[in-house]
Amino acid sequence: MSRRLATTLAGLAGVAAVAVALEATIRAGWISPLIIAPPSSLARAFAKLWGEGFVLQPFALTIGQAFAATAAAALVGIPWGFWLWRRPELGRAYEPWIGAAFAAPTILLFPLFLVIFGRGYATTIFVGFLAAVIPVVLKTREAFLGVPRVLLAVGRSFHLSEAALVRRIAFPAAVPAIFTGLRLGLIYALVNIIGMEFLIDFGGLGRIVSEMYFRYEIPAMYAAILLIVAVSWLFLAALARLETWLRPR
């Protein structure tokens, strides 16, 4: 048995053990089923969510917003990061600010965006954009800074123009690292958009959790939360795999 399979099976066994323990505790009456939904109720709850159209459409809505936010972040962030590399004095000056913005709790500003954009997709996508654009700028600048000097020297020895040097050499060499920025950006956008949807009861997956809570449908609420956890994990894993697959060896 391969190691990978063994760890996967052990993980699943652990999950099963936790589920059985929870089920037993709830049936024994130690925890109210109104606080933790019994694991045995989750399958039916998920089927109910699916039947009422609370799985696929919200999923598509959320993913669509995440991609829109990331596309906007790419359109703004890649030229911006490039500019910070081409003008090193700007890069040096803004570096601490961008670092601080990366650590800053920007999502807390969302009431302001509600004031400015109203309660709609403009707000959720803007929050996703803000979360995504910072890693894109940072990674793009790093990507260009990391282009081996030898490559640029080769280009110069062929008397390439500055524009050709960027287009033919620097940009292609920077693409893999720029992709890392886009990958991070997409994940941040997705997570922040789901959080926003929950906070303002609007949009896709996040809204479902909020709605099930207000309807007091506890198993369905748990099913929706676990669905979000699963989607988060899938995105993380799939994008990491895509990146290793795309990266030149």
């Binding site: 993980g11 090193p88 000056a93 004031v115 959080g195 906070l199 809570y213 994990w233």
Partner: protein
């Protein structure tokens, strides 16, 4: 510096010379504030959506002079600190075995990754069912938010540990608890400080978002009250205060970083 070695591509900038970073930042800041003021006075947006700077300044002064503010700040500080302490302790306690035991680490990784990536605020209904809608739920959400980055960072720190330390501990037949306090924790000071910064930042976000969504006290509650009554300059003032405090705490913890 890597930046200066690459300057040849951009001509027109004398190597090492150019405009000083400080001046660029000052000019940018003034430009942003001027653009803000222009937008505020242009009448392009509804009144007070982007309020003039002086209104924000007045609101900010009101905010920091009001006793009410400190009551809310006290509630938020209590929630964040308690939640962070719980989440940090639990994260370290979970992260060490995850990093030290390869098999265990690999088995739990996908689940940890999934929960760590998902936005923590969606767990708010669960913690409200368990701990009520008051302070308890905010503490729990702050703890939950801090737990994952601390656990992941601690596990990574343990994996990078010099195996000699662990072998010394084993050869002295230390108990697991002694291993934790005599070997792992002292050897991982740096990684623990990083964990603290990451965990604290997320605890602040988790707690404030929970307050904004559902609460009757705390800075998040104050912010959303201003929003509901369309007191936009006051809303800006609260958010500025939150940002100043969050960035200040982060800088303070960066100072804690042990130097080698």
């Amino acid at each position: 510096m890597a930046e200066t070695t690459l300057t040849p591509l951009s001509r027109g900038v004398a190597a090492g010379g150019g405009v000083s970073s400080l001046r660029i930042r000052a000019v940018t800041l003034v430009a942003i504030l001027a653009a803000w003021e222009l937008l505020a006075r242009s009448g392009l947006l509804y009144e007070d959506v982007v309020p003039p700077l002086e209104k924000v300044a007045v609101a900010f002064v009101h905010l920091i002079l009001s006793a009410e503010t400190y009551r809310h700040l006290g509630v938020t500080a209590w929630e964040v600190l308690t939640g962070f302490a719980i989440g940090f302790a639990a994260g370290v306690a979970f992260g060490v075995p995850v990093g030290a035991r390869r098999f265990f680490g690999a088995a739990v990784q996908p689940y940890v990754d999934g929960f760590a990536t998902a936005p923590k605020i969606i767990f708010l209904p669960i913690v409200m069912l368990a701990f009520g809608t008051g302070i308890g739920s905010k503490v729990a959400l702050a703890a939950l938010s801090a737990f994952f980055p601390v656990a992941i960072n601690t596990a990574a720190g343990v994996r990078q540990l010099d195996p000699v330390f662990v072998r010394v501990g084993r050869s002295f037949r230390l108990t697991p608890l002694q291993m934790m306090f005599r070997i792992y924790l002292p050897a991982m000071r740096r990684s623990l400080v990083t964990s603290m910064r990451l965990g604290f930042g997320l605890a602040v976000i988790g707690c404030l978002l929970a307050e904004i969504k559902f609460s009757n006290a705390g800075l998040g509650h104050l912010a959303i009250e201003h929003y509901n009554n369309f007191r936009v300059p006051d809303l800006y003032a609260v958010l500025i205060l939150v940002f100043v405090l969050a960035v200040g705490a982060n800088t303070l913890m960066a100072r804690l970083m042990p130097r080698h």
